[in-house]
């Protein structure tokens, strides 16, 4: 009996010890966290590849110069499965393994709870993709954002609606997610500043298929523009149902969550002419060309939307380690805020909150079955 | 026959849709009696039990126990008043032991609440111990003590019937309703059952009994009530009822008449 008890105990302990314990090798550890597996694995891969390019670049030079010695860079992968709880677990894992900085996470809903752990442990976190303003509004010294914020995107959308589309009647829909509603609310706020009060504002249920009831209600208000905060599956259905079921011709405008080829591939004709706010065409950024070429060579495919952001995030952490000759989170955070950086995305300067100063959003349009950047 | 009735049904009626299962039934059971309730299939016997124990509310009429109405009470409250029953198709708690079954029967007589169960004071342990003693005594009384810790569904058919009786007795009822206790028993077991029922009466528990086996009913009943189509067609001492032509007709059908 006692023997059984002990062996059972041993098995359960062994299970917990299953993963390897951290090695004591002399490296600079950078954590890379995002949805590496599962339905958002494609985004996780962008984070992975971008950071990998940066790390390999530094290692090719022999490593980061720290206290007179060249130290190699080691990347640790953290798969958060876009689950906030996993994110916190990963954060503990990283802190425990002694990471100096973190590239990640991808989703705002994960980055935000994880940032508490990083901040408490004094670990620099640069997210390449979490656009929710709340992340940097928490007042954590250690949090940075290489990408834009939803409110910056909303501002671009609002100005486009007012100045380019010259619309007065705007309907706003969102998918009741952190991202979608955040984007919709920021757009509404900036529209308000420009003197436009949306004639219709409503959430929809993510995962639903039939949005004709709410679109019918919106149609009653004769909107010239329908703005949607959300991601592509709902956007496809919305635009299809607007055009094909209800015969609405209002302009459709949405955010970066819809910048996916499926949007025009599945929605077809219905998507034609839709607008999307997104980052500028990376092919047009001079500084990014090197990374794009290297990525093509290393991985045999084109960069994704967040690859270069991840590259920049990882590079910034490594560069500031070398420049401050320190791995202390407080010094790195201060240094990152202290100056303008020349990066693959052009000049970047962080403000006190950790956000980039310049709004990096422009408007794209679906033309002839592809996305085209408008000037 | 001067004692006040223990159980009294007045004009008790129960309809299921268009079907009249009980039709203005008058029924009296006096203390310390064994009353047999007989009648052909579908006569409304089990329905009468179900209405008395509160499973079905009566469509009309009145049921009083010890002078107070029990109409509208939940079955658990009826049991609390002192009426316990067994079931025609045995309904023991199959996954539990015979002892636990009896202890569930004792449920209504125990006081321990959730907090008591968690804190388990001396009083609670005493109560549990007394309950177990009482339950064991009943298992001994019904003759299945040695199966106390066996799962109910592992017991033989006859033992299951006895376990059900023990479970019902555990609530210290003053009236026990037995629904075909002899069904499926062999003659020897039936003999033991007869004695058990009489012993139950001797403990001071009044028994109202549905039974198809005439030898059991006629052998132990002080009085027999005959139902047909929800109506009482005869009532009296076993011998008188046995000879009643209406009873014969009900049982043997119009072909005989």
């Amino acid at each position: 009996m006692r023997k059984w008890t002990l062996s059972l105990f041993a098995v359960s302990v062994a299970l917990l010890f299953a993963a390897s314990s951290p090695r004591a090798a002399e490296t600079i550890k950078i954590g890379v966290a995002g949805p590496l597996t599962g339905d958002q694995a494609a985004f996780g891969e962008m984070l992975k590849n971008g950071s990998l390019l940066a790390a390999e670049e530094w290692n090719a030079k022999g490593g980061v110069v720290l206290r007179g010695k060249k130290v190699k860079v080691e990347l640790l992968w953290g798969d958060d499965r876009h689950d906030p709880r996993e994110g916190v677990s990963i954060a503990h894992k990283f802190v425990n393994s002694g990471v100096v900085g973190v590239v990640g996470h991808f989703n705002s809903s994960v980055s935000i709870p994880a940032s508490t752990v990083y901040s408490e442990a004094g670990v620099v976190q640069i997210t390449p993709a979490s656009t929710n303003p709340k992340l940097t509004e928490q007042g954590f010294m250690t949090v940075f954002r290489a990408c834009g914020r939803d409110d910056q995107q909303g501002e671009v959308a609002a100005e486009f609606i007012k100045n380019k589309l010259k619309a007065k009647n705007v309907a706003i829909l969102h998918d009741k997610t952190t991202y979608g509603q955040g984007l919709a609310d920021e757009t509404r706020r900036f529209l308000g500043r420009l003197g436009i009060k949306p004639v219709f504002y409503s959430g929809i249920v993510q995962g639903d298929k039939d949005f004709t009831p709410v679109l019918t209600a919106a149609k009653q208000k004769n909107p010239e523009v329908v703005f949607f905060g959300g991601i592509h599956p709902e956007a496809i259905l919305l635009v299809k149902q607007m055009r094909e079921r209800l015969g609405m011709n209002a302009a459709f405008i949405s955010g970066d969550g819809v910048y996916v080829d499926e949007f025009f591939k599945i929605a077809g004709k219905a998507a034609e002419g839709s607008y999307i706010t997104f980052t500028p065409d990376q092919a047009k950024i001079q500084a990014a060309q090197g990374v794009i070429a290297k990525h093509r060579e290393r991985f045999g495919k084109e960069v994704g939307a967040y690859t270069i952001y991840s590259y920049v995030a990882a590079s910034l952490i490594l560069q500031s380690i070398q420049e401050t000759n320190s791995t202390a989170g407080a010094r790195l955070s201060a240094h990152l805020r202290s100056k303008a950086w020349n990066t693959a995305l052009g000049k970047i300067q962080f403000n006190a909150k950790g956000d980039v100063l310049e709004s990096p959003y422009v408007v794209w349009q679906v033309k002839g079955g592809r996305f085209v950047q408008l000037n | 026959m001067s004692a006040a009735p223990l159980l009294e049904c007045r004009a008790l009626t129960r309809r299921f849709g268009g079907l009249v299962a009980l039709d203005a039934l008058h029924l009296e059971v006096r203390p310390a009696e064994v009353v047999g309730l007989i009648g052909p299939n579908g006569a409304g016997k089990t329905t009468a039990f179900n209405v008395v124990t509160g499973i079905h509310p009566p469509t009309a009429g009145e049921v009083s126990f010890e002078g107070r109405s029990v109409v509208g009470l939940r079955p658990s409250a009826v049991l609390q008043r002192g009426i316990a029953r067994t079931f025609q198709n045995i309904r023991l708690f199959r996954g539990m032991t015979a002892l636990e079954n009896a202890l569930v029967g004792r449920h209504a007589r125990l006081r321990t609440g959730p907090l008591g169960a968690i804190l388990r004071s001396r009083r609670v342990v005493e109560e549990e111990r007394a309950a177990v003693d009482f339950a064991m005594e009943l298992l001994r009384f019904t003759g299945i003590e040695r199966h106390a810790l066996a799962r109910a569904d592992s017991l033989s058919y006859g033992d299951q019937r006895r376990a059900e009786i023990a479970r019902a007795l555990a609530s210290e009822p003053r009236l026990l309703l037995l629904d075909e206790p002899a069904a499926g028993m062999n003659p020897r077991e039936k003999g033991v059952l007869n004695e058990l029922i009489l012993a139950i009466r001797d403990r001071g528990v009044t028994v109202l009994l549905i039974e198809h086996d005439m030898r059991v009913v006629m052998g132990i009943s002080d009085r027999v009530v005959v139902l047909d189509h929800g109506q009482k067609i005869a009532e009296g001492p076993p011998d008188a009822v046995r000879r009643d032509p209406r009873v014969l007709e009900a049982y043997l059908g119009s072909a005989h008449a």
Binding site: M1, R2, W4, T5, L8, F9, S12, A18, A19, D79, P84, R85, V88, S89, H92, K93, V95, N96, S109, I112, P113, T116, K134, Q138, K176, T178, G180, Q181, G182 | I55, P75, S76, L79, F87, F93, M96, L99, E100, L103, V104, H107, A108, R109, L110, T112, P114, A117, R120, V124, E128, R129, V132, R146, H147, A148, L149, A150, S154, R167, A168
Partner: protein
């Protein structure tokens, strides 16, 4: 299954079924895998059913069950209790932060599944919306903490109490419903709570969730490290196991079990179904609430997506897998389901699939879970000596 078809035929059949999803190659592999699996399972089955092996297996199984119970009963022998406790207390010193954090999560799940076990395992009420109470606990503490600065300990009680109230609110309308209807209504209830949390922006801040939830304090000591939470959760788990075990082995536990076996017979035997059901709902809910408060305090952040339907399913799996109604079994189930995906991170994509398959397999092969419910529902010591023990239960 034997009469169904031979292994190659079965392989062919499943290859046919998989064709539209897996393509030619995938279907081929599916077919081969199915045929091999069926053949292997049958051979294994034949071996396992052979007398000596079967006996030994039964013994091993018995031993595992007993050793778990022994561990539990060990709490009464102070030496064993001290040993086990020492082992548990030592965990965070042996493990790193991350693994300790995983253990904290596991502990919360242990509490949740023990609570659900009361509803499903003890009382036999299939609740598919259990996560709603978890959410109520988490959000009530999150709101009280961020609005009124309520500290953790009263928050713990408040969260549990509020969840219990919700449990009763759900319980009252569904009292009369049969098992499967109950399952659907509870599922609906769970979804309603999640949808409301996601949409009541003014109060719950909608999908953004609530940030900056207060950490627990003990005097001047502030809980922040996974290790601190480990001890908190460990204590709560032990208390839960103690309370749940005692409830089960009492008049109340017997009433629940009777109700689970046969509702209307239980009612006729004096069990007030209204009380028994509401008590089960309220008790199960309050434990979910407790777990929710701890979760909120550990995470310092709650959002509706943590309380999706799948969460209810996972907790139910823990209960079912471990053995419905058995306290040590449920603890085992919870630990397995948290530890397994950690050990098999690479298989994340397959995890839900494996989980679903395991549920089916479990029901078909061992509907009572790994560990059977055992022991009498009696206070220990209430059974007089000399009661003849018959062939095992």
């Amino acid at each position: 299954m034997r009469s169904f078809a031979s292994a190659p035929l079965l392989g062919l059949w499943f290859a046919f079924l998989a064709l539209p999803f897996a393509g030619w190659r995938g279907a081929l592999w599916t077919g081969l895998a199915c045929a091999a699996l069926v053949a292997a399972a049958r051979t294994l089955g034949r071996v396992l059913r052979a007398e000596p092996v079967a006996r030994r297996l039964a013994m091993a199984q018995e031993a595992i069950g007993e050793s778990w119970e022994f561990m539990l009963r060990g709490t009464r022998d102070w030496r064993v209790a001290a040993l086990v406790l020492l082992g548990l207390v030592a965990f965070p010193w042996v493990l790193d932060r991350y693994k300790t954090d995983v253990l904290v999560v596991a502990g919360i799940y242990v509490m949740l599944s023990l609570g659900l076990n009361v509803v499903v395992g003890f009382a036999g009420l299939l609740d598919l919306g259990y996560v709603a109470f978890y959410a109520v606990g988490a959000y009530s503490y999150a709101l009280l903490s961020t609005w009124y600065g309520l500290s953790f300990w009263p928050g713990l009680l408040g969260g549990a109490a509020l969840a219990a109230v919700f449990g009763i609110l759900l319980g009252i309308p569904v009292l009369r419903l049969r098992g499967d209807y109950l399952a659907i209504v509870t599922l609906g209830f769970g979804e309603i709570i999640r949808i409301v949390l996601n949409n009541w922006d003014d109060v719950t801040r909608g999908p953004n969730g609530i940030l900056g939830i207060g950490r627990p304090h003990l005097g001047d000591f502030r809980f922040s490290q996974p290790m601190h939470f480990f001890y908190l959760v460990l204590a709560l788990c032990l208390i839960t196991m103690f309370i749940v075990g005692r409830l089960n082995r009492s008049r109340i536990g017997r009433a629940w079990a009777a109700m689970r076996e046969d509702e209307s017979a239980a009612e006729c035997m004096g069990v007030n179904l209204v009380h028994a059901k509401l008590l089960a709902f309220a008790f199960g809910a309050s434990w979910a609430g407790l777990g929710g408060v701890v979760f909120a305090a550990k995470q310092t952040f709650v959002s509706p997506e943590s309380f999706a339907f799948f969460e209810s399913v996972i907790i139910l799996c823990m209960v079912v897998l471990g053995g419905m109604g058995s306290v040590p079994g449920v603890v085992l189930g919870a630990l397995i389901l948290v530890a397994l995906p950690e050990a098999l991170r690479e298989l994340t994509l397959f995890r839900p699939m494996i989980l679903g398959g395991a549920m089916v397999l479990m029901m078909v092969m061992r509907p009572r879970g790994f560990l059977r419910e055992r022991g009498l529902r009696l206070a220990e010591g209430a059974l007089p000596p000399g009661v003849p023990r018959e062939e095992g239960r």
